[in-house]
């Protein structure tokens, strides 16, 4: 206490507070820079950790898998049938597959989903002498995330079913699911499994989604996708298990769609690429229609990953089957639920990761940066008594903006979800949103005459909006780091607006330049700009990408129960609108106050 007292006394004596106030914008910006620098530092040697199997019971790769030799003949036998299928027809009703599975002793059931208008076939193998309370799921979608017919997958599915049924070692039930795709169809099956299905096999521990689009015997390497919805990730032990099993087979593993050669470089840039792509994919999980499928299991305490065969040659199809077999047998060993290892992590490569404690400070720094900017806006034009008398008004205005956003977001969502021509409707709405954003931004340049908000209100609204973003980041910090951090970085230009306004007021530089800068800040930090830009840039987007991405965002809640749309529409967008409102209708002129005082 004494030390604190001394420091406070010194601060007071030296008049540090006003000086500190002046450098607040710089502090805020530096914190944001530090946050990015923090993340950039993590892929450096010594900052990340090697993955390891935390749950000893898993013992991955310790069994010899006999899915080899003559099993390969069976695989080819199934494939010679599967390649002749018409996948889009078969995916709704596949009598052949049903018969095969029944012949192997699996009990086959169907799930009819009215929402997606599809029928999903699934088969259950009850573990011999099992207590029938837990299950592992193997998902083979008819179409991969790229929209290719999953020929190899549908070959391996029945071949493995035949092979698994011969074994008596299972302690958990096995479920084979054949959805039309790994996106909304699989999601609706997972939901039905936990609500309305009659034929169930206990709580699901782990799920593997299998994609093997080629009809050849050979593949090059294994690709793992693991991002779940709403920031959820599968237990790291599951990824480790599959990676270990694959490496026992001599198969190279890649994540984030990188080529294994790039990953094997083991240098800073390859790790940074995986890391950054991981954050981006996690933040946009559930939105892209090219979702790998594992995210459909999010929210039900199921550990799920997608493994896909990529590349042309090097390994054979039974090796891919052995990865599935061996991984299932590892999970089969579990005496508990997945609870060891990490649930919050970011991968640098299949074998390197950082855990939550290491990367979390980055988002904290961004949040603090917003909080400091908010403080700066308050300190720029509001006194304590003003603050106390006006806070309820500001809260009222902000709640109003929030209510409008809620209404609009629900309206847009309903329209898109129920529209017969979803994409056309989306494009119309996106046009509308882009135009409204541009109009808003332009009107900050023009409108100088309408001053609806009083000076205090303007400052406080701006401050509150920034504070709101800070709180948004903090509240999502642990649950959904990727989205929190991305929103923080994308909305960062909003923190420059108050310093720019203050410069205008001080009369430094030309007014129109400052106004242009404020408009630019608003434009860049608008969620609509970011969504459009993201749609254009990622997943070989272009104009079609924009429509695709926005459509995905609108339907993501309805199809996948992803919160991202509402976080953007009710968190980021209202804050941005509040600042835009303050800029257009607000009165920030300090001079007028001074003149009055004079």
């Amino acid at each position: 206490m004494a030390l604190a007292e001394t420091v406070l006394r010194k601060v007071y004596k030296l008049g540090l507070l006003p000086k500190l106030f002046l450098i607040l914008p710089r502090v805020s910006f530096l914190l944001a820079l530090a946050s990015v620098a923090w993340l950039l530092m993590l892929p450096m040697d010594g900052q990340f950790r090697n993955t390891y199997i935390s749950e000893n019971a898993l013992m991955p790769g310790q069994v010899t898998s006999y899915f080899r030799e003559s099993e390969w003949n069976y695989v080819r036998g199934f494939r010679s049938e599967v390649v002749n299928w018409n996948f889009s027809e078969m995916s709704t009703d596949n009598e052949l597959l049903t018969n095969w599975l029944q012949d192997f002793g699996w009990s086959v059931s169907k799930h009819r989903d009215p929402k997606t208008n599809t029928t999903t076939t699934y088969a259950i193998m009850h573990a011999p002498r099992g207590d029938n309370t837990e299950a592992m799921v193997l998902v083979v979608p008819y179409f991969t995330s790229e929209g290719m017919p999953n020929k190899g997958g549908l070959t391996l599915g029945p071949a493995l079913a035949n092979y698994f049924a011969k074994m008596s070692i299972w302690s958990k039930n096995l479920i084979l699911v054949f959805p039309h795709n790994g996106h909304s169809v699989l999601r609706s099956w997972v939901e039905a499994y936990h609500t309305t299905l009659d034929a169930t096999a206990g709580s699901i521990d782990a799920a593997l989604v299998v994609e093997y689009p080629s009809d050849s015997d050979a593949f090059g390497h294994l690709e793992i996708n693991y991002e779940g919805l709403n920031g959820q990730l599968p237990n790291l032990d599951l990824i480790n298990t599959v990676t270990t099993v694959a490496s026992h087979e001599g198969i190279r593993v890649s994540v984030q769609g990188m080529s294994p050669d790039d990953i094997d470089k083991r240098d800073y840039w390859s790790r940074l690429q995986v890391f950054a792509s991981g954050i981006l994919r996690l933040a946009t999980a559930g939105i892209s229609s090219k979702s790998p499928g594992c995210e459909s299991f999010s929210g039900w305490q199921i550990q799920a990953i997608t493994i896909s065969a990529a590349g042309e040659k090097g390994h054979d199809v039974t090796q891919f089957g052995r990865i599935i077999d061996s991984s299932f047998r590892s999970v089969n060993n579990l005496l508990e639920k997945f609870h060891q290892s990490f649930f919050f992590y970011l991968l640098m490569s299949p074998r390197h990761f950082v855990s939550i404690g290491t990367y979390l400070p980055a988002a904290v720094l961004v949040a603090v940066s917003f909080a400091i900017s908010s403080l700066y806006s308050l300190a720029s034009g509001v006194t304590t008594p003003e603050f106390i008398t006006h806070i309820s008004d500001v809260l009222f205005i902000f709640t109003g903006i929030e209510a409008v956003c809620l209404l609009l977001s629900l309206l847009m969502q309903t329209i898109v979800v129920n529209a017969t021509e979803g994409y056309t409707t989306t494009i119309t709405i996106v046009y509308g949103l882009v135009i409204s954003t541009l109009v808003t931004v332009l009107s900050t340049l023009a409108g100088n005459n309408i001053k609806i908000l009083s000076k205090t209100h303007s400052y406080m609204l701006l401050a509150f909006a920034l504070f709101f973003i800070a709180m948004l980041i903090v509240s999502m910090l642990i649950v959904h780091f990727a989205l929190a951090f991305s929103i923080g970085i994308c909305a960062l230009p909003l923190t420059f607006i108050q310093p720019l306004i203050n410069m205008c007021n001080a009369g430094n530089g030309s007014l129109i330049k400052h106004k242009l800068r404020i408009a630019m800040c608003l434009l860049i930090s608008s969620p609509i700009t970011v969504v459009v830009a993201l749609g254009y840039l990622i997943n070989d987007g272009g104009m079609f990408g924009i429509a695709n991405f926005s459509h995905g965002l609108f339907v993501s809640w309805d199809a996948m129960q992803s919160w991202t749309y509402f976080i953007i529409a009710l968190g980021w967008y209202p804050a941005w609108s509040a600042i835009a409102v303050a800029c257009i209708f607000g009165d920030f002129r300090i001079e007028s106050v001074k003149q009055k005082a004079d």
Binding site: M1, S70, N73, E81, A127, T133, K166, G202, E336
Partner: protein, 587 residues
């Protein structure tokens, strides 16, 4: 049908002598087979006594002389000292595939749910006395059968309502006493060979001769589904009573797997190319093979399936009988019995029922020309599935679906469910859908740590319809010591029992649903330490501040600065600065 009639007649045969045993083999579709062992023992005619728990009970037992003969001597004192009039113990593991195996053996009357199930009818003067006897019985049986029956306690025990009406016979020793039916289930209990050993020891042959000699733990527990039951029933005429012990083992054998194991060993190595069974109608070459289903033409014998042959009849006398029954479809199955003694081997075609004699070694050989053809599988009168719904940590739901597969008759059932006290079910959330209606409803809510929730529904379902009901529950927080030591699968919810009633309200068929796995909210157990650390820090800070206020003098800032100039540190500072100045001055 002939066989069924024989099955029904069996108890009659058993009643004539003190001991009888039989084995039924019935091939099922997809190369599976049901093996059903039945051992009946009788302790005849003794006067019923009531052991008062307060008085020295052992005395009373000893005072009555009994001739045990074939009846196991070990179990009777336990039953007598707890005044148990009926005892039913079930050890079951696995999932019964109704679709391809049809009805449960013995209409489910000898089959429990997964794990261990214990129920008993106990004579007692009061409920307290009955509870005491019940716990004593469970503890004794726990040691006896190497099962964790000592976990049976009041919070697991229910008093089934419907079964009470079926109890019938009033064999109480005094008019002041009444009978109490109590039941508990331990769904998490694994069943293994150490439960089989005490089972075999109850047999008069100790598993050394007769059909018991076929029971090998390694083979029995390598089945798809197995159930072991022990039923002890007191039957009385006017004065004297007899104890009937019936022991039963049913299991489903995967013949293909056992034969493969016998031929190729335990490891599932791939077959060589020429041994593959391929569909020649589809693409077929040296590299490609579309697999056919399992072999349909093969033969198997007891030696391969049970790992042993039968060591003669149970006893050499004529009073007791050892029977083997084969429920085969004559069009595609045939069986021979191989009787051997030393070098002499005698083989003859097996009849429907084979009686074992003398000290021969018996081996039964079965051949099939098409294993897909088996005797008709009787459909069960009801199909039930039960599952958990919802995903949150604090609440969930249970969904039960009942199907009446019959196209002509409606079915009346009793649905009996015991819910552990940490599942707080809300009956007002009970929602029904589909055909059928709930005729009667009984619910006894749980009391924390004292009594489980107990739900009984009488439901009538019209022909060929589905009835689904769901209800919601809250999950309780447990005390920290009540959680299992480490993170776990979850908590097992005992299977529900579904009993099909006839018009007289007596049970004609019964079955169990599967166990459910409930995950309870588990707190982070390191939290208390964090709380202790934080609390201590706050207390230390508060103490420091107050201590400062109490011990220090309050001065103004000017006074403080004046004083601080004279402090030792200030003096040393001044000395150093003067030295530095002096040094600078010298330069």
């Amino acid at each position: 049908m002939q066989l069924l009639a024989l099955l029904v007649a069996l108890p009659v045969i058993a009643a004539q002598s003190d001991y009888a045993e039989s084995l039924l083999i019935k091939p099922l579709p997809r190369n599976k087979a049901l093996a059903s062992f039945l051992f009946d023992t009788l302790l005849s005619l003794f006067p019923l006594t009531y052991t008062n728990s307060s008085s020295s009970g052992d005395h009373a037992i000893l005072s009555v002389a009994k001739h045990y003969l074939t009846f196991p001597k070990s179990i009777e004192p336990i039953v007598a000292s707890t005044n148990t009039r009926q005892l039913h113990l079930r050890f079951t593991q696995g999932w019964w595939d109704t679709e391809s195996w049809g009805r449960l053996p013995h209409n489910g009357s000898h089959t429990g749910g997964t794990g261990v199930e214990l129920s008993a009818v106990i004579e007692a003067g009061s409920l307290e006395e009955a509870r005491a006897s019940w716990l004593k019985l469970a503890l004794s049986l726990s040691g006896f059968f190497c099962a964790l029956l000592n976990f049976v306690e009041d919070s697991l025990t229910t008093f089934p309502r419907h079964d009470v009406s079926e109890m019938g016979a009033e064999f109480v020793t005094s008019a002041n006493n009444s009978l109490f039916l109590m039941r508990a289930a331990l769904p998490e209990e694994p069943i293994c060979t150490e439960n089989l050993t005490p089972f075999l020891k109850l047999l008069p042959t100790r598993g050394k001769a007769g059909l018991g000699s076929l029971l090998d733990g390694h083979k029995l527990y390598d089945s798809l589904w197995h159930s072991m039951s022990i039923d002890l029933i007191t039957e009385c005429d006017s004065e004297r009573c007899s104890l009937k012990l019936s022991q039963n083992i049913d299991h489903i054998i995967d013949i293909t797997r056992l034969l493969r194991k016998h031929r190729l060993g335990n490891i599932l190595k791939p077959l060589s190319g020429d041994q593959l069974r391929c569909d020649l109608d589809k693409k077929y070459d040296d590299w490609t093979c579309f697999p056919l289903t399992d072999e349909t033409v093969f033969e198997w014998d007891f030696q391969k399936i049970f790992g042993r042959t039968i060591k003669g009849a149970c006893f050499q006398d004529d009073n007791s009988s050892s029977l083997i029954q084969l429920d085969l479809n004559n069009t595609s199955w045939s069986a021979t019995v191989e009787k051997s003694k030393g070098d002499s081997v005698h083989i003859h075609d097996a009849g429907l029922v084979e009686r074992l004699e003398g000290t021969y070694q018996y081996n039964v050989n079965l051949r099939t020309s098409d294993s897909r053809v088996v005797n008709d599988i009787e459909k069960p009168p009801i199909e039930v599935s039960r599952s958990l719904t919802g995903y949150s940590q604090d609440k969930g739901g249970i969904r039960v679906n009942l199907k009446n597969p019959s196209k002509e008759e409606s079915v009346r059932i009793v649905y009996f469910e015991t819910l552990p006290w940490y599942m707080r079910a809300y009956l007002y959330t009970l929602k029904k859908s589909g055909g059928g209606h709930i005729e009667a409803q009984f619910y006894k809510p749980a009391i924390d740590r004292k009594r489980p929730g107990h739900l009984e529904l009488v439901i009538e379902i019209p022909p060929a319809s589905d009835f689904t009901f769901t209800y919601q529950f809250d999950k309780s927080l447990l005390r920290y010591a009540e959680y299992p030591p480490d993170a776990n699968h979850g908590f097992a919810i005992a299977p529900a029992i579904v009993k099909v009633l006839d018009t007289q309200d007596s049970t004609v068929y019964q079955m169990r649903t599967t166990t459910l796995l409930l995950t309870l909210p588990t707190p982070d157990f390191s939290m208390p330490y964090n709380v202790i650390i934080l609390t201590c820090t706050v207390m230390a800070l508060a103490f420091g501040t107050i201590f400062n206020l109490l011990t220090k003098k309050v001065v103004t800032e000017e006074e403080f600065e004046a004083i601080s100039k004279e402090s030792k540190v200030a003096q040393i500072k001044a000395r150093i600065s003067s030295t530095i100045l002096a040094l600078k001055g010298r330069k």
